[in-house]
Symmetry: C2
């Protein structure tokens, strides 16, 4: 409970312990008293008379006090009971692990498979499998109830507040309700405007929702190290990301052992895991794009779907005819998946097998409720190439594929750029909404200038906040190492926090009913000089405390009615507080004396009383 409590990490395990200054709770929807929805509660200084502040919490059980993870056993299977009861599903024997899945690693070089045992399932033909199918059938799933309760956080308090405390905002056509009901979630999913990425084989998942009428979400990317010291190191990357606020995690690993490492990650991940299956397919054909074919790709889809991956990036919009449109670009094709497919198409003079086999891809993904993340293989890699013919041609195709996937019962989101100067962001967003029928947009940044390597978390946070405001549902983070190298632990944290800022700024601007509660709690703590509360309410209590203590290290300074920026003599907030007291005293005196000079009386009439009311 103290800000001085530190993140704990034992060797061969992962980081655990509450975020400083807060405690993890589980709350239950009235309609489902057995359901436990996580929330992080930040108690505030009792002197303030303020209720504890509750904030959205994607960090999983790792931030429970005393939680001792057993990576080999995996997390508790929150969804197992829900899934087991679904008649549209059947248990079956999977394809098993093939040597190629781990790049033929063997002996000491082979990472052992995760021993956690799970029932493998797939959808039956004709049964209800995906959240979209349930939603269309008018059925509210447990996942829908769960996310509704999760999204509602704070709205009751916000709406109970004074009218002027309610958020205003400009939502650009989003339709954000005062309260999120399970039925609202169902409707949004049914019309394709939101997804719950939740593979039926990822039973450890704490469901979350992605859609423009919900809170803006953040994705972080992880990848395996060249030298894997332990599976705990790999699982830790996921745990560390979600600790600081990532809502989903994409595993972009390549090389050997990726199947087994992915298994360890999935069994221990409370958040959706996304992948780009073409990366592993390429590994299986020795990195030679020309050897790729439908069979190896299809097998990889099934392999990963059986593991429980929640969404797949599929670059099916990179069509043969679009590749030449990139020829006059400044930076050509910058998506890995996009360039792999472009090479394949161009070299063979054939249409992409991802595009031609899209129906079959849908059929596989539907069986496991793997959501589509339709990849933007032709996204711009520079401001110069933003919103160009190649990008928009692909986006139109993604719109066409969205409708096919919906017809097949699959959930869909759409990936977006990339590098876009500010004045082109809204056009990009509007075109996506139009072409893709409001399927959730999931963008990487965008970076609003190309001139700041080392600071691309910032160049992109500007674009991310704006596109989130305009309607993007999930923001893929960018770290300070973008364009330069592999992010380390600090970079990942910086990237996640930066994107939580962008997502929250977007929620505020859109007018999410509960969004401003946390800002207002922070502002009141500032005005009251409650320093500990300020640290705890912030996105990163550890850094805030450290920064504060660099200048004013003493404990006494954490209750001081000034800070190091202005010092005691110049503190404007202290002066304002004194002002309020003086005004109150003066007003009282005025009543007694009943004979002030005109000017003073005029002032008191106009405003002095206002101070008394606060």
């Amino acid at each position: 409970m103290n800000v001085h409590s530190k993140s704990v990490r034992r060797p061969e395990s992962v980081t655990t312990g509450p975020i400083p200054g807060s405690r993890k709770l589980y709350v239950s929807p009235a309609c489902s008293p057995d359901m436990r929805v996580p929330v992080r509660e930040i108690p505030l200084d009792p002197s303030s008379g303020e209720a504890p502040l509750r904030v959205y919490d994607p960090s999983g059980p790792y931030t429970e006090a005393g939680f001792a993870p057993d990576l080999a056993a995996g997390l508790p299977q929150l969804r197992e009971g829900w899934i087991a009861r679904r008649e549209g599903l059947e248990a079956y024997e999977g394809r098993g692990i093939k040597a190629e899945d781990n790049g033929y690693a063997s002996g000491d070089a082979l990472v052992a498979p995760c021993p956690a045992q799970r029932t493998l399932r797939r959808g039956r033909a004709g049964g209800l499998v995906t959240q979209l199918e349930f939603a269309r059938a008018g059925i509210i799933t447990e996942e829908m109830i769960y996310v509704a309760h999760r999204e509602n956080l704070g709205r009751e308090a916000a709406l109970a507040g004074a009218a002027e405390r309610r958020n205003d905002g400009e939502s650009f056509g989003a339709d954000i309700p005062d309260f999120v009901t399970p039925e609202f979630v169902r409707q949004e999913i049914a019309r394709g405007r939101a997804i719950i990425p939740a593979n039926i084989n990822h039973t450890e998942l704490e469901p979350m929702i992605i859609g423009r009428n919900f809170l803006v979400k953040v994705n972080s990317n992880i990848g395996n190290s060249a030298v894997t010291s332990s599976v705990a190191e790999e699982v830790e990357k996921m745990v560390w990301s979600i600790r600081w606020g990532a809502d989903t995690v994409m595993d972009l690993s390549t090389g050997r052992n990726i199947h087994n490492i992915r298994d360890w990650i999935l069994r221990n991940s409370p958040t959706p895991i996304g992948t780009v299956p073409i990366y592993q397919a390429l590994e299986k054909v020795d990195g030679d794009a020309l050897k790729l074919d439908w069979e190896v790709f299809k097998d990889t889809l099934i392999e990963q779907a059986e593991q429980g991956v929640d969404y797949f990036t599929i670059h099916a919009g990179v069509r043969l005819a679009y590749v030449p449109l990139t020829a006059s670009r400044v930076t050509g094709i910058v998506s890995r998946g996009g360039s792999i497919m472009a090479r394949w198409c161009l070299s063979k003079h054939r249409e992409s097998f991802l595009y031609e086999r899209f129906d079959e891809i849908c059929e596989i993904m539907r069986k496991y409720d793997v959501s589509f993340s339709l990849g933007d293989g032709l996204r711009p890699g520079s401001n110069a190439d933003a919103n160009d013919a190649a990008q928009f041609a692909e986006l139109e195709t993604l719109g066409e594929l969205t409708k096919i996937a919906w017809d097949k019962g699959c959930q869909v989101m759409i990936e977006g750029p990339g590098h876009v100067p500010m004045h082109k962001i809204k056009d990009n967003m509007d075109k996506q909404l139009r072409e893709c029928g409001e399927a959730p947009f999931y963008t990487l940044g965008p970076l609003t200038t190309d001139i700041a390597p080392g600071y691309d978390h910032i160049t992109s946070a500007i674009g991310a906040a704006m596109i989130g405001w305009f309607g993007t549902a999930m923001l893929c983070y960018v770290t300070p190492k973008e364009h330069l190298g592999l992010p380390d632990r600090d970079d990942v944290k910086t990237g996640v926090i930066t994107y939580r800022i962008a997502a929250h700024a977007a929620d505020l601007a859109k007018g999410h009913p509960g969004a401003r509660l946390r800002d207002d709690a922070m502002s009141r703590a500032r005005f009251d000089f409650r320093w500990q509360d300020q640290f705890h309410i912030g996105l990163d209590p550890e850094t805030a405390l450290r920064f504060h203590d660099e200048t004013l290290p003493k404990e006494a300074h954490k209750v001081a009615h000034f800070c190091s920026m202005c010092g005691p003599k110049f503190c404007s907030m202290r002066i304002t507080q004194d002002l309020r007291q003086e005004a109150a005293a003066l007003a009282e005196q005025a009543v007694i004396e009943n004979g002030l000079a005109d000017k003073s009386a005029e002032f008191l009439e106009k405003g002095g009383k206002l101070y008394l009311e606060t």
Copy 2:
């Protein structure tokens, strides 16, 4: 010239040496061949065939190769010849230094005055003194020629480029010319839409311009340390800020010795220096706001004007009647100057002497051409208080004062917030333009959310980029320590670079003709894997190199055709380059064989040739 060249700093001096990978040049306008306007040139890899890239350079002589600063002598007096010739000015004996100017510091505690000798001047009644007066009289000053040449940088190259390479953009009513001529500068100043902050007693100044039709500028703040180890330490803060791109510097020092330290800073500063005179006035009355009066304030204005301060923040818009409007705010008054004046007004039940004596303030500032920076003493300190009645009432008064100052011949800019959620930024900007007749807006951020102490450079860069796009002329930086403590050297650099990003993103979005040249140069360097060029073109070559080397330290990797993010096998840019070669070869082969399959022929017809053209 090598990226490995490091910033140099000797004890008792300041940081010197070129920014890694670049050299400082001086260029001359055709009309004034003796005038030397600074520019930073970044040579690019000869293999690229690209011309060196020139970028705007506010860093002063400190980044010249071999420059050896003599702080006691001050910088060369670039403007002395210009000023000496002006008939509206007269040399005179100044008020001299009073003991109170340095807080009665004496003996060892007194910082010695800067020995640099300068001719002290002031304007004559009826003569032409300020840039505004010259502009209105139809006279183009040397300062106007200088800034026109400085702003034009890159436009020739940009406009010579292919039509599609020219910048588009959305300027929201700004009127950005293809070329900046001295006459255009004159017109913009004459109508109050731009200022050249340039005290006639700051002869060391390299003039710069602030206005919505020019490049967006960045201000950094510095302040004295509690324990001043040396004057070099204090001057270094200014030198360090401008090294990384600050266009102006505000000296917010308080306490003892501030007069003498300010003198050292001014004599060595090539950029405009701004101050908040009320801070020093308050020092002179022992920190008791109630003892402030016109006489002490007036004397402080003259003191600082004689030193050469280029702009003063004057909180004359904090009127008695507005103070009560802050009573129901979440964070009251957060401007130091604003709270000082609010306290004075409220306690005495009197109108602000800054407001009542505004005419006299104008007369003093006109004599030295000190520009107004009309302070926003009632700016919001939280998102909750943004765009409220207090803020906008003050802004309306600032509009009224702008017209008075203009009538008196003074240059004016207007300070703005602060904390504003994204959806309220445009309203704030539009109101400022409307109320203040397009006088340049100069904003602090704004921060778009309150929940991220430790990251407020980022929460505010989002707002700064947007408000810069909408029309703000200068952005006051925010460091990561905002709300928590005093920024150290790293924080200042991070703050300046972050704000250069915001300013440049705004220039791009507004459609400044030359803005995209640097982005495009970076993008081409990326596509060509010219790693050294990428580091050098970026805003912070040192950090970019360090980040790169953390993953790929070998020299060979700086010419590698891949990076650590994807590795050689997956590099999308390499694949695209291969693609272009393959397409070219295939197209050639097609001509020879003259018998390809339909699909292939179709492709080649549609796009293959495009690759040949690149």
